[in-house]
Symmetry: C2
Subunit: 193 residues, 2 copies
DNA sequence: CGCGACGTTGATTTGCCTCAACGATTGTGG
DNA sequence: CCACAATCGTTGAGGCAAATCAACGTCGCG
C-alpha cells in the first residue's frame, strides 16, 4: 500500500520521509466506488475524508422542492468531505455521489486527528487545502452576484477544462445554479454566434 | 498592551499562559479606523490580518459595471482579511472598508507566520476560524441557489441579529445579491403581511 | 443651510424558470 | 443480442422574480 497518487499530491506541497509515509499510508484505506453510489448520505455524519485517486464525484444539497444543487466536484487528486459535518460531527445536509466509477482513499476522522498530532506537517497541508477551497468558494459567490449565467458557464469551462468533457450538462447546470434547459439555450446561443 | 478583547476570543478556544500571551500581543498593533476608511484597497496585496475589537467592516468586490458586492461583514471579535491575497501575496480584487468608526488589531503577514512557528496553538485557532468561514460561505452558496430573496433576507436577520440594526439596508442588499429597491419591496411586503 | 446618502414607490423590461414534448444515446435485463 | 427503460440534450410557449430607470421625501452632517 504505497498510494503513489496520494504521496505525489502530498509531496507537491512538502517532502516526507519513508517512515512518515509509512505512518500516513497506514491510516488510509482504498475504496472502489461505482457510478451513482454515495460516499456520504444526507442525514449521516461525515466521519471521514476522501482523497480521489481516480474518477469523479459531486457534493450536493437538496432543497425544499426536491431540487439538487451541486456545491462542488472532486476529480483526480482532489479531496472531498463535508467539512462542516466532519468538524462538528453533526448530521450532514449534503450528499457525495460518484459520477464515474472511482477509486478513493478513505481516512476516518479519528485517524486524521491522530495524524494531525503525530505528523504536524499534515496540519499545514490541510490548512492550505481548506484555504484553497475557501478562495474558490469566495470567487464563486462573487461571480454568482456579478455575472450572467452565460458568463459563469464560460468561466466554468475555462477554469475546469479537465471536467468539461467529463460531466453531463445537467450536472454543470446544477453547479452553475441554473436549469438544464437554460444551459442548453446558452450553448445554442454560443454556437450560433 | 494586553488586548483583552483578543485574548477573550483566543481563550474561548484554548488557554494561553502569561508568557504566550506576551509574545502574541507583541505582534499586534492597534489601529483606529474612521467610517468609510479602508483596511485594504483593491489592487494592493493583503499583507495583514485584522482582528476587529469594536466597530464594523465590509469586504466587497466591484464588478465590470461598477457595482459593489459585499462578500462578508466583520464586527466585534471577528477576523477579516482577503485570505486569497494574503496567502498568495498577489494583488487583491477586494476592498475592506469601515462602516463605523472602528478599532482593530493588525498583525503583519510575516509576524503571523512567525507566530505560527513559535506558537503552534495559533495554527489550530486559524484553522478553526477558516473552517468556520468556509462553512458559512458554503451555506451561502447553497442558499443563494435554493431560496428566494425574501427567504434569504429573513435568514440573514435570524443569523446576524447583531448586525441587522447596525447596517444600512443598501449594505444588506449588496450582501444578499439584490438591489436596494428590491429589498425595499421585500420589507414592504413583510410589513403588509 | 444645502448636499449627499438613504429608503421608498411605481412602470417597464429581462433573465431565467416552468412545463411539456420530442429525438438520441446509453445501458441493462431477459 | 435485442427490447425497453432511463438518462440526456434540445426546443418552444408562457410566466414570474428581480433588475432597471426614474422620481421623490427624509435625514444626518459638514
Amino acid at each position: 500500500m504505497s498510494f503513489p497518487a496520494l504521496f505525489s499530491y502530498l509531496e507537491s506541497i512538502m517532502p516526507f520521509s519513508d517512515s512518515e509515509r509509512e505512518v500516513i499510508a497506514s491510516k488510509f484505506s482504498p475504496l472502489e466506488i461505482k457510478r451513482k453510489h454515495k460516499l456520504l448520505i444526507s442525514g449521516k455524519v461525515c466521519n471521514a475524508y476522501f482523497f480521489v485517486v481516480s474518477g469523479c464525484f459531486r457534493m450536493y444539497g437538496v432543497d425544499d422542492k426536491g431540487y439538487e444543487h451541486n456545491i462542488q466536484f472532486a476529480a483526480d487528486r482532489d479531496w472531498i468531505a463535508d467539512i462542516g459535518s466532519f468538524y462538528s460531527q453533526k448530521p450532514s445536509q449534503l450528499n457525495i455521489e460518484a459520477l464515474e466509477s472511482s477509486l478513493v482513499l478513505r481516512i476516518a476522522q479519528s485517524d486524521l486527528y491522530e495524524l494531525f498530532s503525530s505528523q504536524p506537517k499534515l496540519n499545514r497541508i490541510f490548512k492550505i487545502m481548506i484555504e484553497n477551497k475557501y478562495i474558490e468558494l469566495q470567487n464563486r459567490v462573487l461571480q454568482n452576484f456579478s455575472s450572467t449565467a452565460e458568463e459563469r458557464y464560460l468561466a466554468f469551462l475555462e477554469h475546469y477544462p479537465h471536467l468539461k468533457n467529463r460531466l453531463p450538462n445537467t450536472q454543470i447546470a446544477s453547479y452553475l445554479g441554473i436549469t438544464p434547459e437554460f444551459l442548453s439555450k446558452i450553448r445554442k446561443d454560443l454556437r450560433d454566434s
